[in-house]
Symmetry: C2
Amino acid sequence: MVDGGNKLGKVTIERWDKIDIDLKGPDSKDGYVQVELEAEFLNGNESRKIRAYYAGKGKYTLRFMPEQVGVWTYKTRSNSKELDGQTGSFECVEATGDNRGPVKVRDQFHFAYEDGTAYFPFGTTCYAWIHQPLERQVQTLETLKQAPFNKLRMCVFPKYYSNNADDPDRYPFVQRKDGSFAFDEFNPEFFDHLDQRVEELMALNIEVDLILFHPYDKGHWGFDRMSNEEDKRYLTYMVARYGAYRNIWWSMANEYDYMEEKTLDDWQAYIECVAKQDPYKHLLSIHQGDAFFNNFNEYITHSCVQLGTLKHAVNIGFGVYKAHRDIFGKPVVLDEVGYEGDLMQRWGRNTGQELVDKYWMAAVSGVYMGHGETFQDPDDIIWWAKGGVLKGESPARIGFLRNIIESSGLNGLNPIDKWWILNGAGSNGNYYLFYFGEERLTQWKFELPAFMIESEIVIGSKFKVDLIDTWQMTIIPVDGIFEITEKDRYSHMSGKRPVVELPGKPYMAIRVTKVVEV
Amino acid sequence: MVDGGNKLGKVTIERWDKIDIDLKGPDSKDGYVQVELEAEFLNGNESRKIRAYYAGKGKYTLRFMPEQVGVWTYKTRSNSKELDGQTGSFECVEATGDNRGPVKVRDQFHFAYEDGTAYFPFGTTCYAWIHQPLERQVQTLETLKQAPFNKLRMCVFPKYYSNNADDPDRYPFVQRKDGSFAFDEFNPEFFDHLDQRVEELMALNIEVDLILFHPYDKGHWGFDRMSNEEDKRYLTYMVARYGAYRNIWWSMANEYDYMEEKTLDDWQAYIECVAKQDPYKHLLSIHQGDAFFNNFNEYITHSCVQLGTLKHAVNIGFGVYKAHRDIFGKPVVLDEVGYEGDLMQRWGRNTGQELVDKYWMAAVSGVYMGHGETFQDPDDIIWWAKGGVLKGESPARIGFLRNIIESSGLNGLNPIDKWWILNGAGSNGNYYLFYFGEERLTQWKFELPAFMIESEIVIGSKFKVDLIDTWQMTIIPVDGIFEITEKDRYSHMSGKRPVVELPGKPYMAIRVTKVVEV
């Protein structure tokens, strides 16, 4: 093993941590465009080709996330003599603590960390938090530390929109004297800052759903209307710089279809630009305004959905949410379903109860949901765009739901009878969550599906039931057990105790779990 | 102009009618496989390349549907000397009577005949009616003549399924002595019969949604598990023989995903085989069981959807139906949503009211729906498979809805506020249908959307309202008018008369139409 000019010495890092290998090269803005530098990293039979990014001031960084333990060596190739043929090595050891690796799709509709731990996305949205004054950013991190969220949707580019008209302190591109931007010159200060934010979120076990493009610019800065070449250079830079963070998800765009300068072919090319260059195959999605992107696309790992309706329609979410899952055959994250708040705009004035109701409908439909908050504020500090503090009633209830799902012991909840039962999910034979939305039931007929399910329930099987008040956040066990005494073509029934009594209140759920006799 | 060996004399046909040009060639089963014959049809700048099919007994047929009036000439090319270089001509004149041409997609979510007349699909399903005894087929045609349906889903291949175990009188392929089928030898008797059925349906103004493959065979005859080459030869034959019928729609398969022998790549190839060879670009869809095909596919003209749930959930259809439209951005035909009937299987025991309720939910969601009927019968004559007579209560109500929509004067109903209002469609400013499903409303707040609609409603605009009982099939005009006196960000209101009184019954709708002052 030979260490090159930029020696690492005996460096050891954890699996799925990132290592930055800084090399000295031409100190010129050519670094962004002309200089090409990549390295092959080898560890036994494993190899990864990694492209470097230019960090400015003659510093070229190979940022790498080892996915296998053992000794890794690398060797560079470059069109710059200085940077070509450099070699080095380091050792990768097992992960510790909260380091579970990147999140990937598992079991078709669900997610897991690479170490096998189930990951249930409970995200929130602060589009432009990194573009706010520093003390606000610190406050946002402090809020997130206490909140139940494990994913954050956030934009690389600043946002020019209602309640968001301030210029940020730093831009991703170098600003010329005339105010315009040099799209071929990345601003190291901006990206060092973004690095730091991504790392801070990682420390909080928060996945970063990084929004690479968005339409909330309208030419104000022009980041929404760069040329194809500039867009691809930017995406290449992002993959080189952020791919090695295990908590990165690629969100190609927010409301991609509102970016009128770009065509479907552009998006297809951009998706491929990211997916094919990303050696780690991070999760990738694209969020829509009106027109859905073709989420059957092979590079799109999960369907990120905006679904703004549903306020006027009692319980309507059940079927609609499940439809997205049935159609795309992928994990569905309903990342924008209206926000808890009191804005003039209707999408920004869900009550806490409405939003929590949607969360439960999503849970029993086998899909995931994202949070956002839009309370009016005298200083226009609105969580959904700027972060700050949370004011709503939904986060605590979302945390309550998250605890229930994480303690289910399942890899994910699946509809228990996809053709017929819209409000029940779990794992047939073992675990069921039923949710009743705004219905004020006084009893629920104890009935577990029997049609084309994988695990047959034996007559005599016993189940216990918990009554869940999703708003009051209580779980009250129902005394005794329910025993399966009969079945027909579609259902298992509990003949001796045919119903579960309910309190006639809205937003109730029940949990049915098999009693395992020891 | 030169007439060839097989002279047509002075032949005149209507635009969108078919012409059969029969040529004499090798009398051998080579006609199905070895002999290639095509012709170029020319009319001014228009040209169409048409492939012939072998009709048996040395007869080779060029079947052509002229889409432009004027004199058409043709010239053949063939690898058989006898068939090569034949020429001829005929004249195409304007269409008359009910001949409106083929149906195509118009206005993204809707359909129209080529002559510009709106076409609203109100189809039904008789999968295997052409495989029943002849008297039953005659009876089916008689029933269809009286019924409100203008599309029929039907299979080419016979069906081997519950309540369907009989062998048909004729098969699409020649049967060998050992009972097996020669997949390279089409049976002229079968296809002459199918021709006749297609023509009879055309005479009834019924579009034929021709199902090219289906899984209800399971190797019993083996039409579901021919080789790739055989499948493609069959599809090529079908396009050559049925493409020239203006009332043909290609349904690539019923429940394509239950045909376990075929892969997604096979289906993609089959779709392209049909779409690329079809000179007329007929409508094309593919019907799913569990797993949706990628309906974003460029060759799929509309989304044909099986959506079997919804029975247990009050009003749930509104949002689910609209979701399919929003996702695919194409016309949606919910061609299988459960059948009116009393079968043991739950998909076959919708009440008439349930099915009609679904139809209205579909209508106000801007999508289309298909009918089917499955009443038990001592002789197992069930409409959905075999045709015969209709016994249900839904067809009359479906006809009632069809009349309402056809008399709307619109090209199609579109959701009037896709982000918010799930139960209202029409054309903003002019025409609205609102449907209330199982809700028993005593009044409806008169409110017309104002958010991001194309046509602004002027204060002072007047509307009249009709009360529709969708089950009793009554339309009762509400006395007087409703005048728009105010609007806010999202709604127009009628301040002097703020509500419409309703009778507190389920399955009610209202129609709101602008009063045009003369």
